[in-house]
C-alpha cells in the first residue's frame, strides 16, 4: 500500500512517520518480520549460481532448501544465506532475485565468493621461570592447513614447533606433524578419519636443574611415528575415536615425557600404541570462544610403554559485554612438546579489543590474562608444581590467519614426598 503525500520526496517518508505517530490507529497494519504479506510473495521460477568455480551449483542448491515452483519464503532464503556463509567453501554469500519470464515469478540468484581453502595460524610466546630455577624459553609455532584438498573436502595440516632457551640453558627442540583428515569417511556424515606422521627432536641443556624439566637439567629426545584414527559422531556434538600409533625412537637413551610428567628413558622403541578418545565439544569457536564447553578424554596403551591417559576440559562463559571467562584443565599430553605453552589448570579472563569483526588488517582481537598451576609430576618421590600467570593477545589477521602472542611466567614449587 502506498501513501502519497505532498512535499519533496526526501522528506516524504519521515513526514508519514510523524503523522502516523500522532494517529496510530489510522495507520495500515503490516508485519516487519515478513516485510510483505503472503500475497506479495513471488513464485520461484529457477535458481542460479554466480561466482562458483570449484563448487557445483547443484551442491549449492541442495543446501538452500528453496523449491522451484513454490512461493518464495524470505525466511528460507535468509536461512540459506546464513547456512552457505558458514560453510568452509565460501567467504561471502549474497542472494538476490531477478525477474522471471512472467510477472510475480522470480529467479533466485546466489552470488558466492569462494574462500581460499588454505589458512594459517601462528603462535609466538615466552615461557619464563622465575625465582631460583631461572630459565626462559622462546617458542615459535606455525601451521598451514588446506581445508579442501584437491577440491575433495579433505584436510591436510602441517604444524611445526620450535623452542629455544634464551636464558639459563642451551640447545633447542623442534617438532613437526603432517596430518590428513577426512571429515566424511566414505561420504558418511557419521564417520571421520585422521592419519598423521610426526617427528620430534630435542637436545636441551640447562645450567641448573630446572623446574621446566621437573628437576632435571638435560633432556634429549629424537622420535618419529605414524598414526591413524577412525572416529564416529554420536550426536551433534559428541564423538569417539579409536586408532593406532607406531612410534620409533631414533636415538639410544631417548627421554620421553610421559604420564604424570615423569621423564622416562627408553633404550628401544616403545613400538605400538593403541589410541582411544571420547569427547564432547559445544564450543562455537576454538580460538575466539564465546560460549560452550569441551571435554576430550584420551587413552593410549602400548605393551612396552606406560599407559597414558588424560582429560582436556575447557569451558567458556560470558563475563560482561565483550568479555569472557575460560576455565581450562589439560593435564599432561603424552609425547607433547616439552615446553608446553600453556598452564595445566588455568582460569583466564579475556576481552575483545573491538566489539565486532572489522574489515581491516586485523579482523578480530582479544586479550587474555589469568593465573594457573601446572603439575610437573613426581621426581624421586617429590611432587613438583609450577604456579604461574599467562597473558597474551589473539588476533585474527587478514594475511597471517590466527596469531597468538603470549607470555607465561611460572614459579617452581616443590611439594612434599610420598
Amino acid at each position: 500500500m502506498n501513501i502519497v503525500t505532498a512535499g519533496n520526496s526526501r522528506e516524504r517518508p519521515m513526514k508519514i512517520v510523524r503523522a502516523c505517530l500522532v494517529l496510530l490507529a489510522l495507520c495500515p497494519r503490516w508485519s516487519l518480520a515478513d516485510g510483505s504479506g503472503p500475497e506479495d510473495n513471488p513464485y520461484v521460477e529457477g535458481i542460479q549460481c554466480n561466482g562458483n568455480v570449484t563448487t557445483s551449483c547443484e551442491s549449492i542448491r541442495t543446501q538452500t532448501d528453496i523449491t522451484v515452483g513454490k512461493a518464495l519464503d524470505e525466511n528460507q532464503v535468509e536461512n540459506a544465506r546464513l547456512r552457505l556463509a558458514t560453510l568452509p567453501n565460501f567467504r561471502a554469500v549474497q542472494i538476490h532475485l531477478i525477474k522471471g519470464s512472467h510477472k510475480h515469478w522470480v529467479i533466485v540468484v546466489i552470488d558466492v565468493m569462494e574462500a581460499t581453502p588454505i589458512t594459517s595460524g601462528f603462535a609466538v610466546g615466552t615461557l619464563a621461570q622465575i625465582a631460583s630455577h631461572g630459565a626462559a624459553v622462546e617458542t615459535l609455532a606455525g601451521r598451514v592447513t588446506n581445508h579442501d584438498l584437491f577440491g575433495s573436502g579433505k584436510t591436510l595440516d602441517l604444524s611445526v614447533v620450535l623452542a629455544q632457551p634464551f636464558e639459563g640453558g642451551r640447545g633447542q627442540e623442534y617438532a613437526a606433524r603432517l596430518q590428513y583428515s577426512d571429515p566424511t569417511l566414505f561420504d558418511s556424515r557419521k564417520y571421520f578419519f585422521t592419519t598423521g606422521a610426526f617427528y620430534t627432536q630435542a637436545d636441551l641443556r640447562f645450567t641448573s636443574p630446572s623446574g621446566l624439566l621437573a628437576g632435571t637439567g638435560n633432556y634429549q629426545n629424537s622420535g618419529a611415528g605414524v598414526d591413524f584414527s577412525v572416529g564416529m559422531h554420536l550426536d551433534t556434538y559428541s564423538y569417539v575415536t579409536a586408532g593406532y600409533r607406531y612410534l620409533q625412537n631414533t636415538a639410544r637413551n631417548d627421554q620421553y615425557l610421559v604420564s604424570d610428567g615423569v621423564i622416562q628413558t627408553f633404550n628401544s622403541s616403545p613400538g605400538n600404541v593403541l589410541l582411544f578418545t571420547v569427547g564432547r565439544n559445544t564450543e562455537d569457536d576454538p580460538s575466539f570462544p564465546t560460549h560452550g564447553w569441551l571435554l576430550h578424554a584420551y587413552d593410549g596403551w602400548g605393551p612396552s610403554l606406560d599407559n597414558f591417559a588424560g582429560v582436556v576440559i575447557r569451558g567458556t562463559w560470558r563475563a560482561g559485554e565483550d568479555a569472557y571467562w575460560t576455565f581450562q584443565a589439560r593435564p599432561f599430553d603424552d609425547f607433547r612438546s616439552l615446553f608446553d605453552d600453556d598452564l595445566g589448570v588455568s582460569i583466564v579472563y579475556s576481552r575483545n579489543l573491538f566489539s565486532s569483526s572489522q574489515p581491516g588488517t586485523i579482523h578480530r582481537a582479544r586479550w587474555y590474562a589469568g593465573p594457573g598451576v601446572t603439575n610437573l609430576g613426581r621426581t624421586f618421590g617429590i611432587h613438583d608444581y609450577e604456579v604461574g600467570l599467562k597473558a597474551g593477545v589473539r588476533l585474527e589477521t587478514k594475511y597471517l590467519g590466527t596469531v597468538n602472542l603470549y607470555f607465561i611466567a611460572t614459579h617452581f614449587v616443590t611439594g612434599s614426598g610420598y
Binding site: 526526501r10 610426526f198 572489522q358
Partner: protein
C-alpha cells in the same frame, strides 16, 4: 642468540592491538523536542558496504533502530523503530514500511535507490518519548543502535546446530604439538562468529552490520519545543 626483553614484547603486543583500532565513520544523533515529545535526528549513520546491492535484491531489507533514553545514567525508556525496504522488480520502486514498537506507522514508496539511501543517511524520528517536563534539569543522553538485517537468536541456534552437523571438523588432537598454536579453522565462519559474538555479549538481537551512536548529554530546557 640475542635475548629479547620482556618490555619490547609488551610494546609489540600493544602496537598490534592498536592496529586493530579501525576507523569508524562518525555519525551524529541530535535530540528533537516536538509537542512535548522527544525524538531523534540521526545523520551519517554508517551503512553496510553492500547496501546498494542489498536494496535492489528484491528481498526485504530490515533495519532496526533501538533508541534508548538515558536519564542520570540509567536507561529509562526504549523504542524500537523498524524499517522494511523492498524493491519491486517490476515497478522498479522501493516500498518503505516503518513501525515503532511493532506498530506500523507508515508505508511509502521511494522512486530511486539514491532517495532511499539519502533517507537512511538522514533519519528524522520524532515523537518517540513522552518526557516529564517536571524534571527539566536532569541530564539526558540518547543512544541509537542501528542493526541491518537483524537475526533472531533462535534462528542462529538452529543454524549453529545445522553447521555442527553438516560441517564437522575432527576432535582436538590428543597429542597436540603446541597448546598455544591456534586450531586449524576455515575463514568462512566470520559472518557466523560476528553474529554469535553479539549474542554472547548479551545483545537481545544481533546483526551482521551494526552501529551505536550516542548523543551529547543535554537538558530538556536546552531544547526548543517545536510544533
Amino acid at each position: 642468540m640475542q635475548s629479547p626483553t620482556w618490555m619490547s614484547q609488551l610494546l609489540w603486543l600493544a602496537l598490534l592491538s592498536l592496529l586493530g583500532a579501525n576507523d569508524v565513520r562518525a555519525a551524529q544523533l541530535t535530540p528533537l523536542l516536538q509537542q512535548g515529545e522527544l525524538g531523534v535526528d540521526l545523520k551519517g549513520a554508517s551503512l553496510p558496504p553492500t547496501i546498494r546491492k542489498d536494496l535492489v535484491s528484491g528481498l526485504t531489507n530490515r533495519i532496526v533502530i533501538r533508541v534508548t533514553l538515558v536519564r542520570s545514567g540509567q536507561p529509562v525508556a526504549q523504542r524500537l523503530v523498524g524499517f522494511a525496504i523492498k524493491y519491486d522488480l517490476w515497478e522498479e520502486t522501493f516500498g518503505v514500511k516503518v513501525e515503532v514498537d511493532d506498530i506500523p506507522v507508515s508505508a511509502s514508496t521511494g522512486q530511486s535507490l539514491d532517495e532511499v539511501i539519502t533517507m537512511l543517511s538522514d533519519l528524522n524520528l520524532p515523537h518517540l518519548f513522552a518526557v516529564d517536563a517536571s524534571t527539566p534539569d536532569k541530564s539526558i543522553v540518547l543512544t541509537a543502535e542501528i542493526l541491518f538485517d537483524p537475526i533472531e537468536k533462535e534462528r542462529m541456534e538452529e543454524i549453529r546446530k545445522w553447521v555442527a552437523e553438516n560441517n564437522r571438523s575432527g576432535p582436538p588432537e590428543a597429542s597436540s604439538l603446541s597448546a598455544g598454536l591456534p586450531a586449524p579453522r576455515s575463514t568462512s565462519a566470520r559472518l557466523f562468529n560476528r553474529i554469535f559474538e553479539q549474542y554472547a555479549s548479551g545483545a537481545p538481537v544481533a546483526a551482521t552490520w551494526k552501529q551505536t551512536v550516542t548523543s551529547k548529554p543535554f537538558k530538556l530546557e536546552e531544547l526548543q519545543n517545536g510544533p
